[in-house]
């Protein structure tokens, strides 16, 4: 048998797949931004970007928002991780719900439910008005930062928690025994050690914020933002300018690439290896300290989960057109879905299950090739897999729509393109999960099997895959969760009868029909929650092991 087979061939197939569906469309966007209206080379797009309209302001705002939210998320996330890792708090056991909260509550819903609570007509706002205290404007910077922080801090919380749990307590004790105060020890020893983990997660938060579509478009009415402008350039009611779409997309790609580069440089200088650390015992706090710690943590948890509750109540609330009658309950919002919109639910189920299945299979295969069977193609694969990380959903949608609307492979308008977009968005994370999972499986097990005469491919199926199974299950659930909630790419490319739940919610919210949007929101959350619950409770899958 040829040495190239089967692994080299599989690498080649993966490489071709990624080149066609990732590299080619993105390259197309980059190239089109240098095309003039007549088709020749032109820097006109960038000239307009730099000189006209609000483009430059939007870029500045996006960066500022990204930095601010990353900072606030770090504060909230590290604080909560610290409390959970170090202290016993009364409701520590429900903390595990937290990471789920951002997953089960689509961003769009959380933005809109916060408007219902804190917007100018919101429940809390009216309460403040009633007692005569003016409530600050929620739309714009305040709302953006607030909702994005509550939506994205969980990424930093998880990373910081993992790092804190892996932190060797001896180091801290060494600091203390040398006479440093506890607070100073935290700042000099503990925080620097968890910093790389927090920064990696921070980068994810930054890219999520800069590329964010749902929250930006609902709350950023007066703040021009790059992501919203990119979307509008594509969807604009009256013939958008293709050069401008590509220019905006290119700028957002360059922005993320620049940040990735900076982060890589920073991390490469600071690499801490913890020798299987001794985790410190959890302390019990007393008095005001306990109140402060558990109160702070409790507040964060309540605020994270509140949108789900507001949406649940909203879905049963009677409404006439856009006007909601809080306190009057009805089932009509659900009845309407039953009568007219079951197709939307089936679409979501169909696309998400296809995208999840394909995504998990591909991620498992590619990670295996990358970790265990490296060859000449591996480096290229590594880089191609980074590409989806540099683009937001909106840009991915635009890239795919432009890339496949003519030429030998026409996919624009097909369900296949929807599935592809959903799958590609999650792919880098899927591969990363599967790879970290594979690193912990020793090569010797596989070698033992092969040396006993089992062919390599069968060894994979009989030995490696069973060991990877728990990781694959976790990846499958996470992929499912993100694809069911996917909006920003699919809203750009969806077609005839391809509306998914998030698209339907987005459209209803656009028409200000909140009660009906809430009913779809509840169904969306249920569809997300059921597999997660099943996975955790029945199959004992550890979703957030890393």
């Amino acid at each position: 048998m040829n040495r190239f087979l089967p692994w080299g061939l599989l690498s080649l197939v993966s490489l071709v797949f990624l080149s066609v569906f990732v590299a080619y469309p993105i390259l197309g966007v980059l190239l089109r931004s240098f095309l003039g209206e007549t088709g020749g080379f032109s820097l006109n797009g960038f000239l307009i970007f730099l000189t006209k309209g609000q483009y430059l302001e939007a870029l500045f705002n996006s960066v500022l928002l990204g930095v601010t939210v990353t900072f606030t998320c770090s504060v909230v996330g590290v604080f909560l991780a610290f409390i959970v890792a170090r202290y016993e708090i009364p409701f520590g056991s429900i903390i595990f719900l937290l990471p789920l909260s951002i997953l089960i509550i689509p961003e769009l819903i959380s933005a809109q439910s916060w408007i219902m609570v804190l917007g100018n007509n919101g429940l809390v706002t009216n309460l403040f008005k009633a007692i005569g205290i003016p409530f600050p404007r929620f739309y714009g910077w305040l709302g953006l930062i607030y909702v994005m922080t509550l939506t994205f801090y969980v990424h930093i919380f998880l990373a910081a928690l993992a790092a804190l749990q892996g932190f060797d307590h001896n180091l801290e004790e060494a600091g203390l025994s040398l006479g440093t105060t506890p607070l100073k020890t935290y700042f000099k020893v503990v925080f620097p050690a968890i910093m790389p983990a927090v920064l990696s997660a921070g980068l994810i938060v930054f890219t999520l914020v800069v590329g964010n579509f749902a929250i930006s478009i609902t709350l950023g009415q007066r703040v021009p933002l790059l992501s919203v402008m990119t979307y509008r350039s594509f969807i604009s009611e009256l013939g958008g300018n293709p050069t401008m779409q590509s220019t905006l997309a290119t700028v957002s790609i360059l922005l993320v690439v620049a940040v990735l580069f900076l982060q890589k440089r920073y991390i490469s200088k600071r690499n801490y290896q913890m020798v299987a650390g001794r985790t410190p015992p959890r302390k019990k706090l007393k008095g005001w300290k306990s109140f402060l710690a558990s109160g702070g943590a409790g507040l964060i948890i309540v605020l994270s989960l509140l949108p789900a509750l507001v949406v649940l109540i909203g879905s049963f609330t009677y409404s006439r057109g856009p006007v909601m009658y809080w306190g009057e309950f009805t089932l009509s919002n659900y009845a309407r879905i039953w009568d007219f919109n079951m197709g939307v639910i089936f679409n979501s189920l169909k696309f998400a299950s296809l995208a999840s299945a394909l995504g998990v299979i591909f991620a498992t295969l590619v990670s295996y090739l990358l970790v265990k069977k490296r060859n000449v193609l591996s480096t290229s694969l590594d880089y191609l897999l980074l590409l989806p990380l540099t683009i937001s959903g909106t840009v991915l949608g635009i890239a795919l729509a432009h890339g496949f609307n003519s030429g030998p492979l026409v996919l624009t308008g097909t369900a296949g393109l929807m599935v592809l977009a959903m799958m590609l968005r999650r792919l880098p994370f899927g591969v990363r999960n599967a790879a970290s999972n594979l690193h912990s499986i020793s090569d010797s097990i596989e070698e033992a099997s092969v040396s006993l005469g089992v062919p390599p491919v069968r060894t994979v199926f009989n030995v490696v895959l069973p060991l990877m199974a728990p990781g694959i299950a976790a990846a499958a659930i996470l992929t499912w969760v993100t694809t069911v909630a996917e909006l920003s790419a699919s809203v750009v490319i969806y077609q005839a009868g391809q509306e998914t739940l998030p698209i339907q919610i987005f459209r209803l919210i656009s028409s200000d029909l909140m009660a009906r949007a809430s009913a779809f929101g509840v169904i969306n959350m249920l569809i997300i929650l059921v597999p997660v619950f099943f996975g955790i409770k029945v199959m004992k899958v550890k979703l957030f092991s890393s």
Partner: protein, 323 residues
């Protein structure tokens, strides 16, 4: 050879997506969820053999989608967008003389164009009494006063056809000066719906928007919301539907076309969506839904064709005035 290839891809596309089976009419619509559902109910009753697939979205994106699909047209009907927007895409449409046209108001018949008026928007001011200080403005001229600076919002005319209709109306009445003045007063929203949502939520006391959008809140019982039909005159922004050229199912599409213009659909639609119908035999229904009759409004005649032709000039003027 090339067409054969296109046909192949088209067939492949259909196989993959499973759409456009014969007997199906693919209706591309920018109308709100509830209007579409209402129309579908009637179609289901009146023409049970037709299955309508709804493709919903913003009118611009839908029209460009139809344009992109020209090699293998999927759409049968487009319902609906402003006349001036439709004019920009007229090569996508096929002329169809619906028998229903005779029952429409003359301004909405559009006999020379490959589309027919379905309804018309009336441009109004939306007022939120909770955040309004002093008297509400009564005319367009009122809101050009500096005292309304930052308190009036409209959609970006470059993105929203209704906002462009408002801008063009102002231009017709008050010329370049009016446009420049307005530009220095208003704050813009990214989309049409952004305006009425912002006013309903109390973001702004006054918004320039369409009649139906405000009437939804009034009919819904949100007491602080009211609307002003400007006394110096207001403008219509008629919307039309069109048959798509080379659509897969033109015969059934024409039946749906007629149904969308039928008395029953228009009657039910005005009650539900508060959009002013194009038929001129629906005064009763209009009154019942709480709208004033057309005869009671001062309407300024706006040339829709000229509005389309002046678009680049006016938007340029607007952009300069906005700085």
């Amino acid at each position: 050879m090339k067409t054969a290839l296109f046909r192949l891809t088209a067939i492949a596309t259909l196989l993959i997506s499973g759409e456009a089976i014969s007997g199906d009419v693919n209706l591309y619509t920018s109308n709100s969820e509830d209007s579409v559902a209402m129309a579908l109910d009637v179609i289901r009753e009146e023409a049970p053999d037709i299955k309508v697939n709804v493709i919903a979205g913003g009118s611009g994106s839908l029209l460009r989608r139809i344009e992109a699909e020209k090699e293998s047209t999927v759409a049968d009907l487009f319902w609906s967008s402003g006349f001036s927007t439709l004019a920009g895409f007229s090569n996508l449409f096929a002329q169809y003389e619906s028998p229903a046209v005779e029952s429409l108001m003359p301004a909405l018949q559009a006999k020379d164009d490959p589309w027919t008026g379905t309804n018309t928007h009336v441009m109004v001011l939306m007022i939120n009494g909770d955040v309004l200080e002093g008297d509400a403005p009564a005319t367009w001229q009122d809101i050009m006063n500096v005292k309304w600076q930052g308190k009036v919002t409209m959609a970006d005319p470059a993105n929203s056809s209704s906002a462009y209709a408002q801008l063009y109306g102002i231009y017709t009445m008050y010329g370049e000066e009016g446009v420049t003045q307005l530009a220095s007063i208003v704050e813009t929203q990214g989309s049409t719906s952004g305006v009425y949502k912002a006013v309903a939520q109390g973001e702004y006391p006054v918004g320039m928007t369409m009649e139906y959008a405000v009437q939804r809140y009034v009919a819904g019982g949100q007491e602080e919301i009211s609307l002003v039909y400007p006394k110096d005159g207001t403008f219509l922004s008629p919307e039309g539907l069109a048959l798509i050229a080379n659509g897969p199912n033109p015969d059934d599409a024409k039946r749906v076309y007629d149904l969308l213009l039928s008395k029953r659909v228009q009657e039910e639609l005005v009650g539900l969506t508060l959009r002013r119908p194009s038929r001129d035999d629906l005064d009763e229904a209009i009154k019942n839904s709480g709208l004033p009759l057309m005869g009671d409004l001062k309407i300024i005649d706006v040339d829709q064709v000229k509005a389309g032709a002046d678009r680049d000039m006016l938007l340029d003027l607007w952009a300069k005035a906005r700085g």
